[in-house]
């Protein structure tokens, strides 16, 4: 798994590639935490290169969303969600809790 983080004026963009499982999910959670610890709560997660997402990754996502949405200070949104990953998000009931955009430009425009 590789993670890059780009800070924009109105939001942060996390691009994640490869596989998120119990081995790599802590790194994703740490990335969210370091952004949120800096007081930034508007985050776009670009999933275009994501190949696999387990329940450990789903937990990291939902925990970040809880922190970001507190006091209406922001939210995590998703972009470029592959079909298999969407199926997992949908099964877990997360597609109602996270906005999903077809591409990064539209997702960033949300903020």
């Amino acid at each position: 798994m590789e993670i890059t983080n780009t800070q924009y004026k109105h939001c942060d963009l996390i691009k994640i590639t490869g596989r998120v499982d119990s081995s790599t999910a802590p790194k994703l959670a740490e990335t969210f935490t370091s952004i949120m610890d800096d007081g930034r709560y508007r985050i776009v997660l670009d999933m275009s290169g994501l190949e696999f997402l387990s329940s450990a990754g789903l937990r990291a996502l939902i925990n970040a969303q809880k922190t970001c949405k507190r006091y209406n200070r922001g939210e995590v949104v998703l972009a470029n969600v592959p079909a298999n990953i969407y199926a997992a998000l949908d099964l877990a009931g997360f597609t109602r809790l996270l906005k999903i955009y077809p591409d990064v430009v539209t997702a960033i425009g949300n903020f």
């Binding site: 596989r19 499982d21 387990s54 939902i62 997992a88 809790l97």
Partner: protein, 137 residues
């Protein structure tokens, strides 16, 4: 039938995923079924490391696959503590964001995406989880 033993460590999960994905493709499962098998096996092995062994590096996970006429049969065996998956409450997948705990999702996904999930516990033989994924008709 093909069998491989992996060390019970989280870093094994990617290798287990590669191995079972290839087996599922070879068995003729469609691309979503292949992803479903990889997910179910990943969740099962994560549970073995976390709950059966109680941590990394305690024991191995024996994995085997068998192609049958219906589809693919996967068996995962460990020598850790048994646990009753019936005790794991179903996750709340409808509630509000603040009510979501995120736990119990692994077993839930496994049950939803596999056609059969069977746990067997023996004090002398260890734990065996059998998963069946049928081919699309």
């Amino acid at each position: 039938m093909s069998s491989v033993t992996f060390p019970g460590r989280y870093e094994s999960l990617a290798k287990i995923g590669d191995w079972v994905r290839e087996a599922a493709q070879h068995a003729g499962l469609d691309s979503f079924a292949v992803y479903a098998v990889e997910t179910a096996v990943d969740e099962a092995c994560s549970n073995i490391i976390e709950h059966a062994y109680g941590g990394e590096g305690i024991g191995d996970i024996d994995c085997s696959v068998e192609e049958i006429s219906e589809g693919l049969l996967i068996r995962l065996h460990d020598n850790g503590q048994s646990f009753d998956p019936c005790c794991v409450p179903e996750p709340d997948i409808e509630g509000a964001l603040e009510d979501r705990a995120g736990h119990g999702l692994g077993i839930y996904i496994m049950r939803q995406w596999m056609d059969e999930v069977h746990f067997e516990f023996s004090p002398t033989q260890g734990n065996t989880l059998t998963l069946l994924k049928r081919k699309a008709k």
